[in-house]
């Protein structure tokens, strides 16, 4: 079996983000690391975040930093990754690529504790960079310019100290003195030697300054001082005239200003009033904002509260450190303050947000200061505050994030054309169920009813230079309606259009006149209001029209073509006639090329299943240039011109191209390349779009021409980051559409469907899914689909939180307390508290109040996905949490389908895994499955982590025991068990009489249940100790699994072994066969092996397109979705493996990780071709594309066609 791996949705979580001016000049970009993807984001003028570029680097990005050489206008990007190399990248604005400026190897690859890459620190003046490991090693590289002003990098200088653990590093701003780097370090050498543990408990963290002596080219430890043991992060303080220099040490409960030769300035971090006393407050992310006259820091705590930290200083002396409550937003992994007044918060879990500053926290608020810090006998006096609504920030945009995907199922519950992906995402209060549908999201701007059922719609400008459209023209069966676009859209009658007849086409012709084609003739409306009318000869009517700005071709009934052109005076002149052999099905004229008078090509589709290209040149008018036969009569034709590009904002290097698209009556979109000179057609591709013949329309997307195809659902063909993408839109069936541009909506689409006129815009280009999110209460763990009722049953649980009732009670109490405060002291509570009382703070933003870590809350939910309503929610009591579930239908028992839920009471992971009890609850469904009722609950001796139905009974994995239960009156009845599993059973899948058991640490075990003996036998297991995170049954002998190191693998029982086991009529063999070393007698073979680079949490076999082959879909913790498609032909395997090989050689990954080494990080990659690498082919420079194509004996076009084809097989 050979598989093609393709990422369907890139990681949506963000691990770290930095901002800088990577394109140079004033504009600022945000560089985000999404695990293995590096992406550049920029907020556009409307405050929407746009993705400029996203590159898969085939490695793990661990840290990012940006620096700027003194006097330069542009920032460079430094990447610390698992490649054992430091990489400096430069953003190339013209080509829209990241160019590798330097790549220096310093150590082994992989994420190791001793190999640098985990931490990056930059000298604020851009003279040096420090790259550190978690332990021991730190390297400093000197950055400089050569005579041609190119960036140079020195050989590394070592700043190693063995037996130390590093927590954080940062550069110290000391102006143009020697660069200094600060690090929080912990020396464990004594603790390592001391077996009593006393040294370990006394170990002390230190803040160490390392100085890079530029003269001596040497790094030395300059200064070291004790810091709090809770110190976890360092923040650079501006220096060299801008500020006092030094660092802020963020520690548990404190922020401390430190510098060499300066006394500590310490202030306490304010705490929430409802925080339990034993919990500290830690800073998790920080951002510094510097202006000419001032600077401040924004620090975010682990609870999401942002504090503004200011330093009151007198030159180098810091007098006071103030920490003022700023706002509360969801906990972020990185904060970026942009110069344009935006704050980008890359959320730890859930959607990322872009905020705009309303104020910078100058208003009075709760503040802690070093000057008022009180030390009592019990320690420092804490400062309390109460979170409030956003005051200084306002959210203006958000980017969706699925991180982490906890569980996922692909199912067509809504009975749509394509199945939906149901995924459980997020954590705690930000968790959600997201329903993903393949396709682009649209936002509907307006819907208005029309007096009849319209057949077509157009928009026209009054002048070719106008920015916005002037009229919307709607055609009905026997009338035409003209609407003028202004502040409002209203009907007009003075436009000059004939309104008593239906229209066939309406467009701007020449520079400033309008044309209406109706069955009886052509009406030409000049700018000054003069109207010229051309009438059809005899009783013939016009049936089809094709036009561009200067040319019009009409087709009369019977198959005659008449060609008109706009002459110098703006008149429409009849130039040629041509009789075709039969009726004409459709027409289109190519757009007028830049700098030309007319276009040369006319495409004519006929009912004899052909498309002809006719010439419109004066010397060979109406000559047939080429002819193409197609599978079915064409219904609609569209020329799409792709301008030549050398990369730039949104495209790759490619020459100008003209494409002819045809929508055929059998629902296929047929696309060919038209030779710009000869008009010959080549490189045909076809794709099935839907059950209706696609109608094609040209619209504008991001300033470029794009194509809208209306079949049984709408599709958009557009170019995104150099790729031509054809994606469905998540919208209903449309009849006719036109592009729409007005004041309110610059790039929209107006369409008719039924008797309504709809105006909408297309959002988030480049994404392959659009989502509907339904918020959940706690971290979702698992879900199942009720087989008959199509309801989702899910379990949610959280550790260290309060139950809903307790939270409600506490909230009420605190509001009451706040109310009393208001009565007593009106000044402090100035903004309307009544309003706050009415809508209490959302948990989604503020998080849940924290409880002790031993407390669990959990609930079981029944959710109807169609109405998105929760029909039943059972909160578990007594510190119980649900871990597994399944639906089960006990044979010859009266209840029908039941729900089994495995729970644990008082589960603790630290200091040792322990629990009070485990249970299996059995619920029955009532009221059409909408409500659950507890039937009974059975105590078991372990935590049931896996449940499954098997032959009308319940199989449960309870710790290392696999047990078969039957339903009893008061409890479950144990019928059979096998205790020979090594660790803990986490997944159970069944097929016929085989049971495929996944162990937490030891991969799969194949079992068989023998009814005649009532015994469970393990007959095969895996040789590799895999830490299983997801499992999926593929076929009778094959299982697919994913381990926690980010590998996906398939195991298969060899055919002869499988046969032997199946043909064991006496049953003696399976009973007496013994394995070696306590293993099973037979071993499964690994047939597929691939490193995804992200922890796969769920696997499912499904097909995402109607009638497509099945593939294996996976979801990961970083919020990405991918698929493995089995190849069906040996030729394809050969082709793609060669393409992959060439790409590996010619186009090594950006951050220096060897592609093959990456995909083989844990086990050598086997029989999987990396589609993500193959899909980088179109982004290669043209000559390299040609070179690779030559070696494969193909053309670049053919390769791209292959890539497109295989992608279309998956989605």
């Amino acid at each position: 079996m050979y598989l093609y791996s393709l990422t369907l949705q890139q990681s949506t979580g963000i691990l770290c983000a930095i901002n800088g001016s990577f394109s140079g000049g004033k504009s600022q970009e945000i560089a985000v690391a999404r695990g293995k993807v590096l992406e550049l984001l920029r907020p556009d003028d409307n405050g929407k975040l746009q993705s400029l570029l996203s590159v898969e680097i085939f490695g793990a990005i661990r840290s990012l930093a940006q620096f700027r050489l003194t006097g330069a206008q542009k920032d460079y990007l430094v990447v610390g990754s698992d490649s054992g190399r430091i990489v400096i990248l430069e953003y190339n604005k013209e080509k829209n690529t990241l160019d590798k400026v330097h790549q220096e190897t310093f150590g082994k690859s992989g994420c190791r504790r001793i190999v640098p890459g985990q931490y990056l620190a930059i000298d604020p003046k851009g003279r040096a960079v420090m790259i550190g490991a978690c332990e021991k090693q730190k390297l400093v590289y000197v950055l400089n310019r050569d005579t041609a002003a190119r960036l140079t990098i020195s050989s590394p200088l070592e700043a190693h100290k063995s037996h130390t653990i590093v927590y954080s590093i940062c550069g110290v701003d000391c102006g143009f003195d020697n660069p200094i780097f600060a690090a929080i370090e912990l020396d464990y050498s004594e603790a390592d030697q001391d077996p009593t543990g006393q040294a370990a408990s006394e170990a002390q963290k230190h803040l160490t300054f390392y100085e890079l002596d530029l003269g001596l080219n040497h790094v030395s430890r300059k200064w070291s001082e004790q810091v709090d043991n809770g110190a976890n992060m360092l923040v650079t303080v501006p220096g060299g005239g801008d500020g006092p220099s030094g660092v802020l040490v963020c520690a548990e409960n404190f922020v401390i200003y430190k510098n060499q030769g300066h006394p500590d300035v310490r202030a306490v971090i304010p705490r929430r009033e409802d925080l339990p006393a034993e919990r500290g407050v830690l800073i998790v992310s920080a951002a510094m904002h510097k202006q000419k006259s001032m600077f401040f820091f924004l620090l975010q705590t682990e609870y999401g509260d942002i504090f503004k930290v200011t330093l009151d200083h007198d030159n180098d002396r810091v007098k006071e450190l103030k920490i003022k409550y700023f706002d509360t937003i969801p906990v972020s992994s990185s904060l970026c303050v942009l110069k344009s007044g935006f704050l980008f918060a890359a959320s730890e879990f859930g959607n990322h947000s872009l905020y705009q500053f309303q104020a910078i926290g100058d208003d009075p608020d709760v503040e802690a200061s070093s000057a008022t810090l009180m030390e009592t006998e019990e320690g420092f006096q804490p400062v309390f505050f109460q979170p409030r609504k956003l005051k200084n920030l306002v959210r203006i945009d958000q980017i969706e994030s699925l991180m982490p995907i906890m569980d996922m199922k692909v199912s067509n519950l809504f009975e749509e054309e394509t199945p939906q992906i149901f995924s459980l995402c997020g954590r705690g209060p930000r968790s959600s169920l997201r329903i993903l549908r393949p396709g682009l999201a649209i936002s509907e701007m307006a819907v208005s009813q029309l007096p009849g059922v319209p057949s077509a719609v157009w928009t026209v400008k009054k002048n070719a230079n106008d920015e916005f459209d002037a009229y919307i023209v709607v055609s009905f069966a026997n009338a035409t309606l003209v609407l003028s676009i202004g502040e409002t859209v209203e009907e007009v009658s003075d436009s000059g259009f004939l309104d008593t007849t239906p229209s066939l086409a309406v467009s701007l012709i020449g520079d400033d006149s309008l044309m209406q084609v109706h069955p009886g003739g052509i009406r030409h409306i000049r700018e000054d209001g003069r109207i010229n009318e051309w009438r059809t000869p005899g009783k013939r009517t016009i049936v089809k029209v094709g036009s561009n700005r200067n040319q019009v071709v009409i087709a009369l009934s019977g198959g005659e073509l008449i060609y008109f052109e706009v002459d110098m005076t703006g008149q429409l002149m009849e130039l040629a006639k041509h009789e075709m052999s039969g009726d004409i099905a459709c027409l289109d004229i190519a757009p007028v090329p830049e700098g030309r008078q007319r276009s040369r090509f006319l495409a004519v589709g006929s009912y004899d299943n052909t498309i002809r290209i006719l010439s419109l040149d004066p010397d060979d008018t109406m000559d047939i240039l080429s002819l193409q036969s197609v599978s079915s009569p064409p219904e609609s034709l569209l020329f799409l011109e792709v301008q030549a590009s050398l990369g730039g904002e949104d495209g790759a290097d490619h020459p100008a191209n003209l494409f002819l698209n045809a929508g055929l009556q059998n629902g296929v979109l047929y696309r060919t390349v038209v030779d710009m000179v000869t008009g010959t057609l080549s490189d045909a591709r076809s794709r099935f779009l839907g059950l209706r013949a696609p109608k094609l329309f040209s619209i504008v997307v991001r300033g470029r021409q794009a194509m809208l195809c209306l079949s049984s659902r709408p599709w958009l063909g557009y170019i995104h980051q150099g790729h031509f993408l054809l994606t469905p839109l998540s919208y209903e069936t449309l009849e006719y559409a036109a592009s729409f541009s007005s004041d309110q909506c610059a790039e929209g689409v107006v369409a008719v469907a039924g008797d309504a006129l709809r105006v909408f815009t297309i959002e988030r280009l480049g994404e392959s899914f659009n989502e509907t999110a339904i918020p959940l209460r706690y971290t979702p763990r698992k879900f199942v689909v009720h087989p008959k009722r199509k309801l989702l049953l899910m379990i949610e649980s959280d550790q260290g939180a309060f139950t809903a009732e307790e939270r409600e009670a506490a909230k009420k109490e605190s509001f009451e307390a706040a109310g009393m405060g208001e009565n007593g002291n009106a000044d402090q509570m100035e903004n309307g508290d009544d309003e706050e009382n009415n809508n209490p703070l959302t948990d989604e933003q503020y998080g849940y109040p924290k409880a002790e870590s031993g407390r669990w809350v959990s609930c079981i939910r029944v959710l109807d996905p169609r109405t998105t309503q929760t029909t039943c929610l059972l909160e578990l009591q007594d510190n119980e949490a649900a871990f597994s579930m399944c639906t089960v239908n006990f044979h010859d028992k009266e209840y029908g389908t039941l729900l089994a839920v495995g729970t644990a009471k008082g589960l603790q992971f630290w200091p040792k895994r322990s629990f009070e009890a485990g249970y299996i609850h059995i619920y029955r469904f009532k009221e059409d499955g909408k409500v659950l009722e507890l039937l009974h609950k059975t105590q078991v001796e372990g935590v049931p982590l896996a449940l499954a139905q098997f032959q009308g009974r319940l199989l449960a994995g309870i710790g290392p025991v696999l047990r078969l239960y039957d339903l009893g009156k008061r409890r479950l009845l144990r019928k059979c068990e096998n205790k020979l599993f090594p660790n803990s059973i986490t997944s159970i899948q069944t097929y016929r009489d085989r049971i495929y058991v996944g162990d937490m640490q030891e991969s799969f075990h194949y079992c068989k249940y023998r009814r005649d003996e009532n015994q469970l036998y393990i007959f095969a297991d895996d040789t590799v100790p895999r830490w299983l995170t997801a499992a999926q049954h593929v076929d009778f002998d094959t299982m697919a699994g994913a381990d926690k190191f980010g590998n996906v693998y398939f195991v298969r029982l060899p055919q002869d072994v499988s046969d032997e086991i199946e043909e064991d009529p006496t049953g003696g063999k399976i009973k007496w066969e013994q394995g070696k070393l306590n293993g099973a007698p037979n071993k499964v073979e690994e047939i597929v092996q691939f490193h995804v680079g992200d922890v796969v949490t769920c696997l499912q076999k499904a097909s995402l397109i109607p009638g497509g082959g099945e593939c294996l879909i996976y979801g990961t913790t970083m919020g990405s979705l991918g698929a493995f498609l089995p190849f069906t032909s040996r030729d394809d395997v050969d082709f793609f493996s060669h393409l992959e090989m060439h790409l590996r050689q010619e186009y090594p990954p950006l951050c220096g990780r060897d592609h093959m080494a990456y995909r083989s990080s844990y086990f050598p990659v086997k029989d999987v071709i990396d589609g993500d690498l193959c899909e980088q082919f179109p982004t290669l420079p043209m000559d390299m594309q040609r070179k690779i194509a030559d070696e494969l004996d193909r053309t670049p076009g053919e390769i791209m066609k292959k890539l497109e084809e295989i992608r279309n097989k998956i989605i």
């Binding site: 190399r85 790549q103 190897t105 039957d966 009893g968 009156k969 009845l973 144990r974 019928k975 059979c976 068990e977 009814r1011 005649d1012 003996e1013 009532n1014 046969d1059 199946e1062 043909e1063 009529p1065 590996r1144 050689q1145 090594p1148 220096g1152 060897d1154 093959m1156 080494a1157 083989s1160």
Partner: protein
């Protein structure tokens, strides 16, 4: 080779080598050699079982004359064995099956796994009701209620049914299957049998308070 140095070329080379190895082996029938844990290959055909170091050597060995001769010998032996199996199978079919019309067709299929094929056939026959099983019935009944006197009970239900429906032969095989299915249900539910054929509860299995007792149920039913 990687432009940026490092060790990547070695990996590529190794990959290529593995590819070549795979290709070398592809042509060789996997049943004639065995891959050893050391990575060497043992030829299973030659009587001396020579151990070969690499796939290339294996493929050379396979095309060698000595191996070819050994293979031919083995083939002959296999053929003879198969003949023997066929013969025996045909004999056994004659004894058990009463419909010898399609035995020839079945034999063709059943050459590889005679036992399982035979079992399948037997099951098929039982299900399709081809076998009336007059001789099996008393034994099954014996198994079901060994403690009850043989003569009376054996005749009685048949007599009752005969009176009720008048057709005994057609009901009988189904009854037998039902009976077996019930027995299986009881074993699956955790009942076991002692050496007298009496049912008892497995001590490791839990039972409902009103669980049916097979000693009673099975007796009543027959």
């Amino acid at each position: 080779m990687s432009v940026y140095g490092g060790d990547s070329w070695a990996r590529e080379a190794q990959h290529r080598k593995r590819k070549v190895d795979d290709l070398m082996i592809e042509g060789v029938d996997s049943s004639i050699y065995k891959k050893l844990s050391s990575g060497n290959f043992a030829c299973l055909v030659c009587p001396t079982n020579p151990v070969l170091d690499s796939p290339t050597m294996l493929s050379t060995h396979v095309s060698g004359s000595r191996h070819q001769a050994a293979e031919l010998r083995r083939k002959n032996r296999d053929l003879a064995k198969q003949e023997e199996v066929k013969k025996r199978l045909a004999l056994s079919d004659c004894v058990t099956a009463k419909a010898p019309a399609n035995t020839a067709a079945k034999q063709l299929k059943s050459t590889s796994e005679p036992l399982i094929e035979q079992a399948r056939k037997a099951v098929l026959d039982v299900i399709s009701g081809k076998v009336a099983l007059p001789e099996v019935k008393p034994t099954a009944a014996n198994l079901g209620r060994p403690c009850v006197g043989d003569n009376g009970s054996n005749a009685e239900p048949v007599g009752v049914e005969a009176k009720l429906k008048g057709v005994v032969r057609e009901v009988q095989p189904l009854n037998y299957r039902l009976h077996q299915e019930r027995e299986l249900k009881f074993t699956a539910a955790g009942w076991k049998r002692d050496c007298h054929g009496r049912w008892f509860k497995d001590e490791n299995v839990e039972f409902d308070s009103d669980e049916e007792d097979p000693n009673i149920v099975l007796n009543e039913s027959t």
